[in-house]
Symmetry: C4
Subunit: 221 residues, 4 copies
Amino acid sequence: MDKLHNELKKEFQLERLILFSDAVFAIAITLLVIELKVPEIERSELTDGKLLQALGHMIPKFFGFIISFMFIGIYWTVHHRLFGYVVNYTPKLLRLNLFFLFAVALMPFSTAFYSEYVMKHVLTPVIFYTGNIILLGIFNLLMWLHIGNPKNNLSEGLTQADVRYSSFRAILVPALFTIFAFVYLKSPLLASYLPISIPVIMRLVKKNHERKNKSLPTEKN
Amino acid sequence: MDKLHNELKKEFQLERLILFSDAVFAIAITLLVIELKVPEIERSELTDGKLLQALGHMIPKFFGFIISFMFIGIYWTVHHRLFGYVVNYTPKLLRLNLFFLFAVALMPFSTAFYSEYVMKHVLTPVIFYTGNIILLGIFNLLMWLHIGNPKNNLSEGLTQADVRYSSFRAILVPALFTIFAFVYLKSPLLASYLPISIPVIMRLVKKNHERKNKSLPTEKN
Amino acid sequence: MDKLHNELKKEFQLERLILFSDAVFAIAITLLVIELKVPEIERSELTDGKLLQALGHMIPKFFGFIISFMFIGIYWTVHHRLFGYVVNYTPKLLRLNLFFLFAVALMPFSTAFYSEYVMKHVLTPVIFYTGNIILLGIFNLLMWLHIGNPKNNLSEGLTQADVRYSSFRAILVPALFTIFAFVYLKSPLLASYLPISIPVIMRLVKKNHERKNKSLPTEKN
Amino acid sequence: MDKLHNELKKEFQLERLILFSDAVFAIAITLLVIELKVPEIERSELTDGKLLQALGHMIPKFFGFIISFMFIGIYWTVHHRLFGYVVNYTPKLLRLNLFFLFAVALMPFSTAFYSEYVMKHVLTPVIFYTGNIILLGIFNLLMWLHIGNPKNNLSEGLTQADVRYSSFRAILVPALFTIFAFVYLKSPLLASYLPISIPVIMRLVKKNHERKNKSLPTEKN
């Protein structure tokens, strides 16, 4: 009975870590909208034409909102999949998770900075945004390696092949973004559309991984 | 034992999806208040008359706050009912849910845009707001169809009649809003009061649905 | 087994309602801080004296922050106690809870409005704030009456004496605030300190209630 | 059966207290980013040099963001550890927890105030920030003493040695910050780097505590 109680307590402590992370994700993803400011037009000049023009100027902001919503959504999904394997925690996992959440919480700022200047021929915001994506990737990678390390005894049902695949995915997104940053040097317009390709590439990678593992029937997200 | 453990893990993963969604709903519904700015009046001119006048000018904002609170509340209730049937999840459900939450997270902006200009004879904000409601409706519909599809094996206790009824409701709100947008062309004042009728219409539809199904005693919200 | 599953599902649906409410409380209570703006002082004029003076001008804001934090905290505690009795839910309970949360979400605005003008001899913000407290009280009262009604079969372990006591408490706070609003007409300074007395009065009422019921050993918050 | 039900209800009430706290932590930690404003540069003057210069001026803000993220993260970890021992609650624990959360919710303001003026030779913001850290420490200490008091019967598996160690840690952070405030009088630049030493000092204290207790194998964070 006492052992069961301890077991439940430990599981609740783990759940708490996860739900705290979810709350940070949820707030960061919803705070993105704060950067969308209602266009202000004087009453004397107010026409639908002016409003549409104002919305037109906001297109990079909407774009940034959508891209970052997508990214935080993807990383939430990854976090969801990662902790689907976790059955225990260490101080180090708490710490890595906090660093990861730091990169998540920074996203609304990076997004605002990026989408304010994306079409204006400057490189700094693109590098800053890419840096944020790289931070997300690094801490995500470190978390996979930490829970995937059999010595730490933190996970259940996670094979070394899964760890390798997930680590590859964790590195892939920052790598693609770094390439996009170089494309941006040549063609900002093209580069600003490239992030949309990421979910497609991720899906292809996943399909390929699943085909290779189709002998093993597993349920994943 | 191991099977029970897996079952519990799967259920927790599903709970996590739901509680993450709840957090997004809760933040979006509470962020609405950020658009209500305290009226600023110079100390030398400060009287209760001036303050009441300033509050009077804020009536469309309060109205927008109330309408959007009501909508996010309604969609939370629908989400609550929908996931009351769900017993499993797929990557597609995660994705549809994220798209749905995207439309929820956009509501504070749409509301602010709508209530800034609602009484000023422009159509763009009304169309934008209606577009947001349509997005909510579409992703809600797709979620009902996805979990209601018996092949996906995602739900328990959800009859095809329930799916049809819920799909109808999912379409009804955007349809009504599209009608209201046309009414707005003729009479903005009338159109701005129409959203209040939605809970009443929804209730009538529900009552009618329940009367038709009264032979089957079910508990629903 | 199936019955247990349904029971657990129903309990989770109820938990979801509660945790969604908690998130709204948590956001509203934390958003209060957004109204505290860092005082801006030109570099050339920057001294500790100027900063202290600026902080001095913010005293009503800090005061509003503390009072509202206290109120949202108190109402969270009441909500916590109320749902400690609830074992089932109805569409009406979902609705009443949403109305209650509406009043909670409005608090950051009411607080900002109140604390902006509290020391400036105008009555409107005081009435507005009192109105918000009255809304909280009314929906709180309606929730106690709804779950306390034996016909609804929603609660467990809730005696009619508890319902009467909790209803009295729900009315007490708005009643005290209405009195404070009248005191404000005579002495704004005195009235602005009165809210601090509320926890003390509530404690006295509770102690008195507990003394009367001391024959029945119960654990409450 | 009924006793089990009551036990589960009580546990859920405790969980609710914890998850509400988590939400406040999550919001406070994510709201920190709101203070990071995108630098605004006129289009005609926009160069990467100007942007980098603007980011350079934001270094104290980034620094404040990182330090406060670290602190809220540390206090969340402490809260997580503390409630890992708690098996029951009292009205007093609810109250102490609310006071503690008050100090957490104030952090975004204190951080903004501190990082706005940290490099400008004024003492007020440093004292304000230190005051906030002291508040966190005091309520943290009171919570440890309250749950650690065997008479209250609130905890399980918490030895008096743990309580002493945790109380010491609760006092240590504010004590270090008070020292840093005095260092600030002499050298603001040095003082602004000192907070980074806190996790290192905490780790040393922990390692030392664990060495002394290594005979007792315990799992902690």
